[in-house]
Symmetry: C2
Subunit: 371 residues, 2 copies
């Protein structure tokens, strides 16, 4: 029986997707705008330099060369990884609903775990013994209840959650490339989790994770999951970023309480005050998520094959009018359309051009600013 | 300017009230029924033996003799205590709204604290150092915010809460008589709290507290307070009884969270799951209670002077019909009225008679059973 709910890229399309997402100034959101604008990744690759030039790029935009992408695919294959595209069967169903979901995920291990329900567990890397014990207990019991456990491979809570769910299936979301596991001492943990679980990354092979890559990675931890459980998170911590992402992604928030005198409990207690579900045992989580599991995954928001092209460059006067309305203060795209008197397509294309030229800052709530 | 919102008993009336509440089989609820039925405590004292006999008492009911009540008043005066009646100015305003509020409270210390807003703090007598520290911090800050702190003088959390609010005003609710402080080593703590605060008891002087007196006392801790804060309460503990009473009395519930691995946090975490407000700092409490403080105390539900008498004994056939409908299985008073075909007054009087004869068990929700 044919799978009608998923797309399947050809090798050539996959190569185009990889080249496009690895090109300069192209992130997941721009990728989506480009494919919608140009009708496909292949045509987008051709259009890229012109779009960036029209957006005012000071130098030619770097398009990822074909052989570079082919080399990355070869490296991936040697490591036992493969690229799964947004909309394909092995792409985590819940991640597809996220606005800035990566178009391609490099996946190692057992992709079956990505098709089942996942729950994220996050918390401090300086966890207490009690925190580690709690993480182990919940991860083990979530596994027994049929959930995969997603986390970020960090020391402390993350590692405890992965280890306790090795047999039942756990997903490690990497902040760098598959060949740059961080922290390095968890390379063995990754190997161990690949049998029942998987490691995933949106970053290029060879990419050494930097501090700014972790918040970016955190949106994937919450994005693949039905909900996020926070155990021992300090006031300003990556765990709280993940919890905030989860909220924005409409995921369920859970937190394990702790003494107000324990600074490691401050973040989790704060989440509880904001309405997170209090967790002392696994049933507190399962009771909330059980009703959601049955629901079919949402439709993929973008389809590669057969999209219609609409590569009309805005008239120079229209482009100038739109840019004149913008500045360092964020404005709504809707206001740009209204005040410029230009068509929505002209405004969107102008924004895409600026984005590729590295001159656009997209912010939450449909706001844009000039850089 | 005359105080029109409060009653004031004469010495004779006060003596009658004390005799009535100290008489056999008369608790706060029966006291209220009797005064309503007979029109006053004095006439109730006269009617008591007949009512009990009609209810089928196996031997004459013991009415507290006048000289015994006079002796108790004299003992109270020597200890610096006085009897404050329900409805009088110094009776804790919030306690008046409680269904089984004691008609008389023996009060030692500074009654001003009883007129201000009170918050109950309860928790384990085997508290951890962290629990004690948290109790001290909250009690101190509640005092600074203008709240009196009510508790039960027990070891651990109770004592910590009292000690930290000695200067700002704390209320110790005793399970026994004023001359039987429990635990005995807290006699000094009581002396210390009397200057800014008060100790209150509904029990007779000389009464040694038994285990069953503590749940009874707990309803007063929550009853005098706007809300109850639970710190470190095990699964089945007196603190949880107080929290349940608070709920039944429509008081606000607060709880300080703790690690799920700490058995001392189990009760508080359970309350949080049931909707108690999570507390990590005093503002969490104050923000909820501040809007209530301004409200005028509710009207006293019963007035002694000038009540109308209605001492009609039910016809023997009616009484027999009502009793025949009852048994060890609790039934609703409304059903008794409907099924017996008797007047509500006849049913209520019959129940009062049974109560005084020690043959009635009143349960929650207006249910009654024959003992």
């Amino acid at each position: 029986m044919a799978d009608t709910t998923h797309i399947r890229l050809s090798d050539n399309q996959r190569l185009d997707w990889l080249r496009l997402i690895r090109s300069e100034n192209v992130g997941p959101r721009t990728f989506r705008s480009l494919v919608n604008h140009c009708g496909g990744a292949g045509t987008a690759l051709t259009a890229l330099p012109d779009l960036a030039r029209r957006g005012g790029a000071s130098r030619p935009l770097r398009v990822c060369p074909r052989d570079e992408a082919e080399r990355e695919i070869a490296v991936a294959q040697r490591l036992g990884a493969r690229f799964v595209a947004l909309g394909e069967a092995d792409y985590p169903a819940y991640l597809q609903t996220v606005e800035d979901a990566p178009p391609l995920l490099a996946v190692r291990g057992n992709a079956a775990v990505l098709r089942g329900p996942l729950i994220a567990m996050v918390g401090s890397c300086n966890a207490s013994a009690a925190g580690v014990k709690m993480a182990e207990r919940l991860a083990r019991e979530l596994g027994a209840a049929g959930f995969g456990v997603a986390s970020g491979l960090a020391r402390g809570i993350h590692a405890a959650a992965h280890r306790a769910s090795l047999a039942t299936g756990t997903v490690a979301v990497l902040a760098g490339g598959h060949d740059r596991v961080y922290p390095p001492e968890h390379a063995g943990l990754v190997d161990a989790l690949l049998e029942a679980g998987a490691a995933i990354s949106e970053m290029p092979f060879g990419w050494e994770p930097r501090a700014s890559d972790f918040p970016r990675r955190n949106r994937l931890i919450s994005g693949v999951s039905l909900g996020v459980v926070v155990i021992e998170a300090a006031k300003k911590s990556g765990s709280l970023i993940t919890a905030r992402m989860a909220l924005e992604q409409n995921r369920r928030g859970f937190a394990v309480p702790g003494s107000p005198l324990d600074p490691r409990a401050e973040g989790a207690n704060g989440l509880l005050k904001q309405g997170a579900v209090l967790v002392t045992e696994v049933e507190d989580i399962v009771a909330v998520l059980r009703p959601i599991i049955g629901r079919p995954p949402p439709e993929p928001p973008m389809e590669e094959p057969g999209s219609a092209a609409s590569d009309d460059a805005p008239a120079p006067s229209a482009r100038a009018r739109i840019i004149a309305l913008m500045g360092p203060t964020p404005v709504a795209v809707d206001d740009l359309i209204r005040l410029s008197g230009c068509s929505p397509a002209a405004v969107q294309t102008t924004l895409l051009e600026l984005e590729l030229a590295g001159r656009l800052d997209r912010q939450r709530g449909g706001l844009v600013a000039l850089l």
